[in-house]
């Protein structure tokens, strides 16, 4: 490569922003088509294109960082700002669902019987599976910190063990939530209680699945010696994201499961 007199990463042209944008358009319009005309063609095409884009774009980034060394300290600083801004936008995404929930529950309309939970809705006991879910996510927050310190101290074996444990806890949470969804005596069609409950917890569950995938990618990279004790921002971003998902759950648990029942 030619001599470069600065520490910044001059990226090569890439097709992935374009394919990503097309995937987003196909996914949104495809979902609308699915809901209105019951055709799955557009939404599945969008999903396939999205998965292909994610896989190849992130593969390119791993090549640029781990194998070509483009992620110098100033570049990493930019990545940190990017991740902070992304998580901030996610905070506001969830804020909308909490707003909907409190708007509906603090002053329940006469149609609901003027009470919350609405008349006829049997809620889930917050001190059964939801409490277990809280313990699972808090525990995974501890194990992911163990993983971080292991990576920083070059404890390869411990890093792999702790990351595996974190991912297993993530899967356990998803399994428990799926069970709760099946056992729930109310559905998404049960008025504003069902809508707010399933939209808020559903998007949280989706984020747990994404976070588990993010951590699983980190585990694969750790196994393949991608992380050093000083250069592992991919893992740190996954850990930040995981903590964010954990905090959202705590708010969901206290608001919707506990206070809301």
């Amino acid at each position: 490569m030619a001599h470069q007199a600065h520490a910044y990463h001059m990226v090569d042209p890439s097709p992935w922003p374009l394919t990503g944008a097309i995937a987003a358009l196909l996914l949104t319009s495809g979902t609308a088509i699915w809901f209105h005309f019951h055709s799955l063609i557009l939404v599945s095409a969008g999903l396939v294109l999205l998965l292909l884009t994610m896989f190849q774009w992130w593969r390119d980034i791993i090549r640029e960082s781990t194998f070509q060394g483009h992620h110098t300290p100033p570049v990493q600083k930019g990545l940190r700002y990017g991740m902070i801004l992304f998580i901030t936008s996610e905070v506001f995404f969830f804020l909308g669902f909490f707003w909907a929930f409190y708007h509906s529950s603090l002053a329940p309309t006469p149609e609901l019987g003027g009470c919350w939970p609405p008349t006829g809705v049997i809620t889930l006991d917050p001190f059964e599976v939801p409490l277990l879910n809280t313990a699972v996510l808090l525990a995974s927050g501890v194990t992911v910190t163990w993983a971080h310190h292991s990576i920083m101290e070059g404890e390869r074996k411990q890093a792999i063990q702790s990351l595996t444990l974190t991912i297993l806890l993530g899967f356990y949470f998803t399994f428990l939530q799926a069970m709760e969804y099946y056992e729930a005596p109310f559905t998404i069609a049960d008025g504003v209680y069902g809508s707010t409950f399933f939209v808020a917890t559903g998007f949280h569950g989706l984020h747990v699945i994404i976070g588990s995938t993010f951590l699983a990618v980190c585990l694969l990279r750790q196994v393949q010696f991608h992380f050093t004790s000083k250069h592992h921002f991919g893992f740190e971003a996954a850990a930040w994201y995981w903590h964010f998902v954990d905090v959202v759950w705590l708010f969901l648990y206290v608001s919707i499961y506990w206070w809301g029942s």
Partner: protein, 113 residues
């Protein structure tokens, strides 16, 4: 905004200096305790916490199974809303439909009057 700025600054600084401090102290022979500390916390606090909650859930579920009662169906107008068909199956059942606990708009399946 000021608070957010400070938090983001702190986050940036902490993650940048954390690794530096740790590697610096590691060179002096201490500071290699953090991974060990968090390992102990994982096995002594986190995992037992999950185990206790699992036991609690199990015991409470046993209790429920002991006195199970059939729910009575009341066709409330604010529940079981079907303003549009679900885009799957027969369009009348939600995605996580469970015939045991989720009545359809005209009542529970199986035991209709």
């Amino acid at each position: 905004m000021v608070v957010f700025g400070r938090i983001s600054q702190a986050l940036l600084r902490s993650s940048l200096t954390q690794s530096r401090q740790l590697s610096a102290s590691a060179a002096h022979g201490h500071g290699e305790q953090a991974a060990r500390t968090w390992k102990i916390l994982s096995f002594v606090v986190a995992i037992p916490g999950v185990a206790v909650c699992m036991l609690n859930t199990y015991l409470k579920m046993q209790e429920h199974a002991a006195h199970h009662e059939e729910p009575v169906f009341i066709p409330y107008s604010h529940l079981r809303i079907r303003s549009k068909r679900f885009p799957w199956g027969d369009g009348n059942k939600s995605l996580f439909h469970n015939a045991e606990v989720n009545p359809l708009p005209d009542g529970y399946e199986g035991h209709k009057e």
